[in-house]
Amino acid sequence: MIFREVEDPDLIAKARRGDVEAYNLLISRWEKRVYNYLLRLVSNREDAMDVSQEVFLKAYQSLPKLDDPARFSGWLFRIAHNEAFSLLRRKRPETELAGEPRPDNLNPRLLPMELSLAVETALGRLSADQREAVLLKVYQGFKFEEMADILECPVSTVKSRLYTALDLLKATLAPMHKAALRGES
């Protein structure tokens, strides 16, 4: 007898036939990644939670349209991207106001545990497009071509957004990390 792990395409096939439990298992595999991606984009836990639910509901309804189940992750993140930016467009004035009073300079003497907050702040300073490029590449591990599919833009645009973001983050974060390392030694 051969045992093999139930893979996403198996669950997708069952979910397409109306098996809600199979879809719930699929959700349990992806919900945390989708939630964290959305959280960094919309910068609000309740919004991220609401949008996550909306994403998985839309994904379920659109499963029959998914051409290649092997590309489920990119397809799911494209839905998440569309939902997040739809929310950001609706809440633009509020978001812009909330985004303004960020500190100009981060404390360069942070402890490693505090670096997480510093990274969050540094990511918050990027434009939404740049931040999303970093989230998809650095935290979700998508290739440039996959990112272009998710964002529905050319690879050159993806690289431009990501490279600019990395230059900004390098200027902000690298000195802090060096200081933290010096503090440890």
Binding site: R17, G18, V20, E21, Y23, N24, I27, S28, E31, K32, Y35, N36, L39, R45, E46, M49, S52, Q53, F56, L57, Y60, P64, P112, L115, S116, A118, V119, E120, L123, V134, K137, V138, Y139, K143, F144, K159, L162, Y163, L166, L169, K170, L173, A174, M176, H177, K178
Partner: protein, 155 residues
């Protein structure tokens, strides 16, 4: 050795993000081993990515799950296209067609008459065979008797 022109520099961001092809990656590594400026640039990029990795993934406030509901169930035409349902429909149709094509019920008396006729035909054929067998036996008895009488004469 240091970089002479910026154009000759490899794409270091693509390098640290593992987006270079095999050949370009090998060439970049060879360049990196000899260029202190690029070495410093790559070290800073790696440090930035290391720092970004310090961002903690948050737990969700609550889990997402759906319950089976009419909203989620496939529509009748979606069910009709499922292989299991289609196979069931075909089997049911085959049974109905077979039932429709079967001849109607025959009266018992007609059946009994047909059976009696078939039995009497078999019995008649059997009697003919028995009679033929007797005739053959009688012929054979005569032949044997003749043989005995001839033998007595020869002695």
């Amino acid at each position: 050795m240091n970089c002479i022109s910026p154009e000759s520099k490899p794409d270091w961001k693509a390098y640290v993000l593992r987006e270079l092809g095999q050949d370009a990656h090998r060439q970049a590594e060879a360049h990196l081993a000899t260029c202190s400026i690029c070495h410093e640039e790559v070290a800073t990029l790696r440090l930035t990515l290391d720092t970004l990795s310090m961002l903690r993934e948050e737990e969700m406030p609550r889990r997402i799950a759906f319950v089976s509901d009419k909203v989620f169930e496939p529509r009748w035409w979606q069910r009709a296209f499922s292989p299991t349902f289609a196979a069931g429909v075909l089997v049911a149709a085959a049974i109905l067609v077979h039932g429709a094509m079967r001849p109607s019920e025959i009266p018992q008396a007609q059946v009994d008459a047909a059976v009696d006729k078939a039995v009497s035909q078999v019995e008649a054929r059997h009697m003919q065979e028995v009679r033929a067998m007797y005739e053959q036996l009688e012929v054979r008895d005569k032949q044997v008797a003749n043989m005995y009488s001839n033998a007595v004469l020869i002695r």
